[in-house]
């Protein structure tokens, strides 16, 4: 009986912790969406942090994004163009690229790369601040860690995510087109292929693509913030990284899935 009770306790504790994290993440995301347009939240200290984070997140990830996009262009788009042309279904190229690349793959891969390049750095910084008691220093000086650290980073990551997503899609399509043209099975121009992709996009795609990317950027920042500042003061920061990575990946996947279902 005691064993069963202990099992229930463990199960309940785990469910409560995960539910609490999900609720806090949702609350922080909502807070960022609410506060980001408010000029009063953007003092010069927050603006400085925003510029620093934007440079770091875009500059740090753009190379990886381009390389990944080229690989996807070669492995997926060129292949797709080849098989659709072989099957005489060139008219479906735009629809396939929109459904697979624009709606699903691009936001997911950009989210993972943003998490790896910027989210883990932020998580490590927040965890170190927590273990050093620096949040206490900040609060004692009247500096709100949310306003000074999370809000600027969340907005920077959201903009970086959207920018990187656009770069990813364009580079992937151009690479696939180049390869298809060289191999001789793609006769359209690059602009023509981009135009076919745009034509295949419904209004939902124009809404879902940026919404996914912007939300994923915010989720990466908010998840890192919650994991870093939610850690025990005496905890080892390196142990936070796998936990933060799993949490953020789960959040990215759920966000992507939910928006796909809504659209």
């Amino acid at each position: 009986m005691n064993g069963f009770r202990r099992f229930l306790q463990r199960l309940g504790r785990s469910v409560r912790a995960r539910t609490a994290f999900a609720l806090k993440l949702a609350a922080l995301t909502f807070a960022v969406l609410r506060d980001a347009p408010m000029p009063g939240m953007w003092r010069r200290t927050a603006r400085s942090e925003f510029h620093r984070s934007l440079r770091q997140s875009v500059g740090g990830a753009v190379g990886t994004i381009v390389v990944t996009a080229v690989l996807i262009g070669v492995a997926m788009i060129a292949q797709g163009l080849y098989w659709l042309t072989t099957a005489g279904q060139q008219s479906l190229v735009g629809t396939v690229l929109v459904t697979v690349l624009v709606r699903e793959l691009a936001p997911l891969l950009v989210g993972v790369i943003l998490l790896g390049r910027s989210g883990t750095v932020a998580l490590s910084e927040f965890g170190t601040m927590r273990s050093n008691g620096e949040e206490h220093v900040m609060e004692s000086l009247g500096l709100d860690p949310y306003q000074l650290l999370l809000l600027p980073r969340a907005v920077a990551y959201a903009l970086a995510s959207f920018t990187l997503g656009m770069v990813f899609v364009i580079v992937a399509i151009i690479t696939g087109h180049l390869l298809g043209s060289l191999a001789g099975y793609e006769r359209d121009t690059a602009l023509g292929l981009l135009s076919r992709v745009l034509s295949a996009m419904a209004w939902q795609d124009f809404a879902v693509f940026p919404t996914k990317l912007l939300l994923i950027g915010i989720l990466v920042a908010a998840s890192s913030y919650l994991t870093g500042f939610g850690a025990r003061r005496t905890g080892d920061v390196t142990q936070l990284l796998p936990l933060g990575f799993v949490r953020a990946i789960t959040a990215i996947l759920i966000c992507s899935l939910m928006l796909s279902l809504v659209a």
Binding site: M129, V137, M138, S140, L143
Partner: protein, 237 residues
């Protein structure tokens, strides 16, 4: 600042004890503009707890803590942050945000709470830095500075701007006694402007220094905050 308004007003303030710790006794202290309280405290954790109490960082079981006529407990989140921007504090332990350079650390509270131009702040910080014995506004990461320079930089941050209240937790290590004249000059200037100051010290040398222009001498122990005075004569060893 109105002269008749207390800068800090602790009225039977009793802190909520941390888990596993005994409750502190209720504390009463009123500091008017220009007051200087020297508090002997051997325990840095207790000093930090008291500094937290004064700056509205501690939860109270009973009593009240007022700062510039406003009860910390009644202030909203943003107002609390704004009021804390009027306090200059030196921390006993963690003083720095490791993400930032030491210059940004020093300027951060003023850049956040005021609209004063960066150039003016940098000039003022550089002047204060030199007064505290630094060659200028220190640069680089906090880990790159020696403990003595970090202690000086902590004082520069605390005195920068026009703080209404100074809370100095063990600002002088015995090794850094050469900082004393600069610290006393800065304290005198701040008090002349109407600020009040609290200096928590565990150092006998500081505590027994009769030249310090204190208005209150207190002792912070497990029994609470009590008035204390120096014996009329201290026998030479």
């Amino acid at each position: 600042m109105a002269d008749n308004l207390p800068i800090l007003d602790l009225q039977e303030a009793e802190m909520e004890p941390s888990p596993g710790e005994h409750a502190e006794r209720p504390m009463t202290l009123r500091l008017m503009p220009g007051d200087f309280a020297l508090i002997e405290s051997r325990d840095t954790a207790r000093s930090t707890g008291f500094a937290d109490l004064c700056t509205g960082m501690a939860d109270l079981v009973s009593g009240s803590v007022g700062f510039l006529g406003q009860d910390w407990a009644r202030l909203g989140y943003q107002e609390t942050a704004m009021q804390r921007g009027r306090i200059g504090r030196v921390f006993a332990n963690a003083n720095w945000i490791h993400l930032l350079g030491i210059d940004d650390n020093i300027l951060l509270p003023q850049r956040h709470h005021t609209n004063r131009p960066d150039s003016t702040l940098r000039d003022e910080a550089a002047t204060l830095s030199m007064a505290f014995g630094l060659p200028g506004l220190p640069m680089g990461r906090p880990r790159d500075l020696s403990p003595a320079d970090l202690a000086r930089a902590a004082c520069v941050r605390a005195f920068l701007g026009r703080p209404a209240l100074l809370v100095l937790e063990h600002p002088l290590h015995t090794r850094f006694r050469d900082m004393m004249p600069a610290l006393l000059n800065a304290l005198a200037a701040a008090r002349d402007r109407g600020a009040a100051a609290i200096w928590l010290t565990g150092s006998d040398a500081v505590w027994r220094d009769r030249s310090l222009p204190t208005t209150h001498r207190l002792r912070l122990t497990a029994a609470g905050l009590a008035q204390a005075s120096l014996p009329s004569r201290i026998k030479a060893a």
